[in-house]
């Protein structure tokens, strides 16, 4: 079942002081996010991720296209009872303490009294702010505000959570914690829509991803599928090699590197790989490993950004 349905969503911003001209930040995005999955929304800076999230939150109105969350249009107030949102680089009233902020946010959902107090205490603990629950936010570091931002997105026990760059501003430990929180949400059946340009985080936790560049959707699916399609050769590692070996295999390899005992080779296509491996077996060299070269998400990004 699709929890988030985005159809042909397009947003133009008018820029320029005198003669406004439209700049397309998002161009015909169509996506579906299924119930209970962690969906990674990836793209380099300026790709249009935050714009998409703001359109989903109805902070912006679309130039064209539509978005539905939980089957309701983006502006539906009742639907907002059932979702949570962490803005990019969140900022909250800095004269409030986390406890006050969360209590205030809870009241907006009609919560109150002891249940709200309990929920606040629980959340503050969950995001690791228990020790500073009664400290005014202006004394907080960016990372602490980010954690509080996650807490406030969860105050109403939402069914769908939108997180815009939840890992930014956090130290490695903090990122681990966010990953833990997000996977915890999945265990409770919450759908998470998470934007990021930090790939390892996404690689580690997302079920499916979409990749956005310059406002256009490049690809959507599981990371495996996306990257497998881009296997670009194999890396072969040998040992027990001689100078003669080098000369012999060079024609089949696009890259040859000697590293002490071992020789790292790269074979770009299947024929070359077979030739290399045939040589290895024929000459009794020791085969250490053969690995497909899958581009990392970073490399994939790079080709996207540079290539277009």
């Amino acid at each position: 079942m699709a929890v988030i349905e985005i159809e042909n969503l397009t947003k133009d911003f008018a820029v320029g002081f005198w003669r406004k001209r439209p700049v397309r930040a998002l161009d015909g995005l169509s996506l579906e996010v299924r119930a209970g999955e962690i969906f990674g929304f990836l793209g380099p800076n300026g790709a249009g991720k935050s714009t998409t999230l703001k359109l989903l939150m109805h902070l912006l109105s679309p130039t064209s296209g539509s978005a539905r969350i939980l089957g309701r249009p983006a502006g539906d107030t009742a639907m907002h009872e059932r979702i949570g949102y962490l803005p990019e680089n969140p900022y909250f009233y800095d004269y409030l303490t986390p406890r006050e902020l969360l209590t205030f946010m809870g009241r907006l959902f009609g919560m109150g009294g002891a249940p709200l107090a309990r929920k606040v205490r629980e959340l503050v603990g969950e995001v690791g702010l228990a020790a500073s629950a009664d400290l005014q936010l202006r004394k907080f570091s960016k990372g602490m505000v980010q954690r509080l931002g996650i807490a406030q997105a969860l105050i109403n026990e939402p069914e769908v959570v939108f997180l815009d760059e939840p890992m930014s501003g956090l130290d490695p430990l903090g990122r681990m914690e966010v990953r833990r929180i997000v996977t915890g949400l999945r265990e409770r059946g919450v759908t998470v829509f998470l934007s990021s340009h930090i790939l390892p985080d996404v690689e580690a936790i997302c079920d499916r991803v979409a990749i956005l560049n310059r406002g256009r959707l490049q690809e959507a699916g599981t990371l495996e599928d996306i990257l497998r399609a881009r296997i670009s050769g194999h890396e072969v590692i040998l040992s027990g090699w001689t100078e003669g070996t080098l000369e012999a295999i060079r024609p089949w390899c696009s890259e040859v590197r000697a590293m002490g005992e071992r020789l790292h080779l790269r074979a770009d296509d299947r024929e070359d790989l077979e030739a290399v491996l045939g040589f290895v077996f024929a000459h009794g060299l020791e085969l250490v490993s053969v690995n497909p070269i899958r581009p990392s998400l970073e490399e994939y990004f790079q080709t996207l950004v540079v290539g277009k």
Binding site: H58, S61, G75, D76, T77
Partner: protein
């Protein structure tokens, strides 16, 4: 609190309805307020009716604000309502003048015309000659070389307070100011000898009329001159009627057509022998000495 979200047509049409309704009602309510209190014309910077406070808050725009207050004073004094009636009490006149002259002590018109407005008895003016004296003294402190401000003070003493001695003393004081005209000394002497009250009055008003710098002051002086003229005319006519009756035992059948200063013939009733200003006359007859 209408139903419908901030992004829904419900709020929008609710807000538009509220907007239109409020916009339609503002005018009647404003008119109601204006009808209740003549507050629109009161010195409605009421919280600022302390001249010093106004001056401090003027932040360098004192002359401009003074002009505004002067305009407002003239409005306050001379404005007529829709039926052409002027206001009848001028309780805030002095405050307005005080603020005006504190903001710009150089505004000599404000002292001179202002003292005139203040001195005239109601319904023409505020009937506060003492405050007029205060205002003129304030003016004299800022302009020690202006004999005219001192002279005006004597004018108030003489015509409104009917204190001829004080008037004479004040005119003597004015005569001592460098540059004062010579006739001032004569005027002072006449006042001190208490002779010829009417002549002095006529010459004072004539001077006022000729030298007035504001229409209100000039009109006021003209009214006074006319009133004096009417008074003299009537006295002469009554004298003539009396003499005719003493000689013939009856009132004269006609007086010819003597006219008042605005050209309307005086009303004469040959049966009762009464002569008076025609009620339809354009002369505004004031109480004159």
């Amino acid at each position: 609190m209408k139903s419908g979200g901030g992004r829904h047509p419900g709020t929008r049409s609710g807000a538009v309805a509220a907007l239109v309704l409020a916009a339609l009602l503002v005018k009647p309510v404003q008119d109601f307020i204006d009808a209740r209190a003549p507050a629109g014309e009161e010195p409605d910077l009421l919280f600022f009716n302390s001249p010093e406070l106004v001056r401090k808050m003027a932040l360098g725009f004192e002359p401009l604000l003074a002009d505004l207050y002067w305009m407002r004073t003239i409005q306050y004094y001379g404005r007529r309502d829709d039926e052409g009636r002027r206001r009848e009490s001028f309780e805030n006149l002095h405050t307005l003048l005080d603020i005006t002259t504190t903001l710009d002590p150089g505004l000599q018109d404000a002292y001179r015309a202002g003292s005139c407005f203040l001195s005239e008895p109601p319904p023409v003016g505020a009937g506060q000659p003492e405050l007029a004296l205060e205002l003129l003294e304030k003016g004299a402190r800022s302009h020690p070389l202006q004999w005219r401000l001192v002279y005006e003070r004597g004018f108030v003493h003489y015509l409104y307070l009917k204190d001829y001695a004080a008037a004479g003393e004040t005119w003597l004081e004015a005569a001592r100011v460098p540059g004062a005209p010579e006739w001032l000394a004569g005027l002072a002497a006449m006042a001190l000898s208490k002779g010829g009250a009417e002549e002095i009055a006529v010459s004072l008003w004539r001077r006022q009329y000729e030298e007035a710098t504001s229409d209100a002051v000039r009109d006021n002086a003209r009214n006074h001159l006319h009133s004096l003229q009417v008074k003299r005319d009537l006295a002469a006519l009554r004298d003539r009627i009396e003499r005719h009756r003493a000689a013939t035992g009856s009132f004269p059948p006609s007086l010819g057509t003597p006219r008042d200063p605005m050209g309307t013939p005086y009303a004469y009733d040959p049966r009762s022998g009464r002569v008076d200003l025609d009620p339809a006359s354009a002369v505004r007859c004031l109480d004159v000495p």
